[in-house]
Symmetry: C2
Subunit: 218 residues, 2 copies
C-alpha cells in the first residue's frame, strides 16, 4: 500500500527535514523514493505544495505516534509534570536519531513558513494548554495568567535546549560525564528543577508591570 505518492511524501519528509526547503532538491527526493523527477509535479503540482503536504503529514504522524499523555486526572500534579516532561524529551531527542517529523517541526518553529499557523493551533497550543493545566495545579489559584505561561515556557525551554544545542553540549561535555544525558536523567533533573522553582514561587512577590531596574536583584 505504499504507493508512489506516499513514498515520495515519506522521502520528502526526510530530505526536507535534513536539508531544509531550499537546499533539498526534487531529484534527491525522487531518487530516495525510487521515482521519476516528474512524479513530484504529477502528484503534487510543484515543490512548494509538496512541502506543505509534507509538513501536514508530519503533524498527523506525530499526533498519532505521540498522543498527548492521558493520565490526566488521578495522578498527582508532580507525577503528571514529570510524565509530561519525559514525553516531551522523548519526542525531541528520543531514539538518538531524531525522527524527521520532529526535525521538520523544529524548522518551522525557527523559520515559520505559511505552513506554521496551522501547526501552532493544532499541535503546539494543545500541548501548551495541557502543561498549563498541570502547572495551575501546582501554583496558588490567584497566580496571574502570564506568570503561569512564563513558568510553562521555562519548562519547555529547558527541554528544547537539549534538542537545539545537543551537538554543542556534546562538544562541551566531551570526555567528561557523557552518561548523565539519558532521557530519564534529564527528565529527573528538569522536573526537580522546575518543581523546586514553582513550589518556591512566592505569589505575593509579583513585580508585575513596570519592573524597576533600581529595585534590582531577586
Amino acid at each position: 500500500m505504499d504507493s508512489v505518492r506516499e513514498k515520495i511524501l515519506d522521502s520528502a519528509g526526510r530530505v526536507f527535514a535534513e536539508r531544509g526547503y531550499k537546499s533539498a532538491t526534487i531529484r534527491q527526493i525522487c531518487q530516495a523514493a525510487e521515482a521519476n523527477v516528474a512524479a513530484v509535479n504529477y502528484y503534487f503540482g510543484d515543490k512548494q505544495q509538496l512541502y506543505l503536504e509534507t509538513v501536514k503529514q508530519a503533524h498527523r504522524r506525530l499526533s498519532t505516534q505521540f498522543p498527548l499523555p492521558p493520565w490526566a486526572q488521578d495522578a498527582s500534579p508532580e507525577s503528571k509534570l514529570k510524565g509530561f516532561i519525559r514525553a516531551m524529551l522523548a519526542r525531541m531527542i528520543g531514539g538518538k536519531a531524531t525522527p524527521w517529523e520532529q526535525q521538520l517541526m523544529l524548522r518551522e518553529v525557527l523559520h515559520p513558513t505559511s505552513a506554521c499557523r496551522e501547526l501552532v493551533e493544532e499541535y503546539f497550543r494543545p500541548q501548551l494548554e495541557l502543561l498549563l493545566s498541570i502547572i495551575s495545579e501546582l501554583l496558588p489559584s490567584d497566580t496571574a495568567a502570564h506568570r503561569r505561561r512564563q513558568a510553562a515556557f521555562s519548562i519547555i525551554g529547558q527541554c528544547l535546549f537539549y534538542r537545539i544545542a545537543g551537538d554543542i553540549v556534546d562538544m562541551m561535555a566531551a570526555a567528561d560525564d557523557e552518561h548523565h544525558f539519558t532521557i530519564e536523567q534529564l527528565a529527573d533533573h528538569i522536573t526537580q528543577f522546575s518543581l523546586a522553582a514553582i513550589s518556591n514561587t512566592s505569589p505575593f512577590d509579583d513585580r508585575d508591570n513596570n519592573a524597576r531596574q533600581s529595585t534590582s536583584i531577586a
Copy 2:
C-alpha cells in the same frame, strides 16, 4: 576604510545569517556589497572560505561588542546571576531586529560546521564557565559537577527559548499580554525561577546514576 574586502565580509554576514550557507548566493552577497562577483574569489578564494571568515568575524565582533560582564567579585551571587541572564537575553533578542552575528552563531549551534569547534572553545565555553562559577556560589560545595552543569543548561535553555521560539510565542500569546515580554521582565522571571529552583535543591537527593523509573515522581 571600508574596503571592498570588508564590505563583502559584512554583506556576507547578513546574507549567510538570513539564508544559510547553501541558500545564500555569491551574487546576492556581491550585489549587497556593490562589488563584482569575481571579488569573492579574488579576496577569499571560494564561498567556503568566505563563510569561515564571516563566522570568525562574527565571533570577534560579539566578543568586543558584548564582552563578558565584569562585575565578577563584589556583588552577591544573586545579582551576578541576574546580570548574566539579562546580558544573555540582551545579546539574543536585543534590539528586536537581532544582529546577524548572533543569527550566524545560532545557525552554527543548530547545524555545526567546521567553523564550530573554534566557536565553542573561544565563545561558548567561557560563558558557560562564568555561569558555572556563579552557580557554584549558590549551591552546596559538595554538589556534583554534572548537577551544576545541568543547572547551567536549565538557565541557558530558558533564555535560548525566547530566541528560538520567539515567533511562535508571539503567535500563541497573540492579543493577550504582549507587554510581558520585555527583556527586563524576562530576566526578572528567569532569575526568580532559577534562584528558587537552585536554593530549593536538596543536595542529599542525588538520584545520580541508574535512575529507577519505578521510583517515579519527583
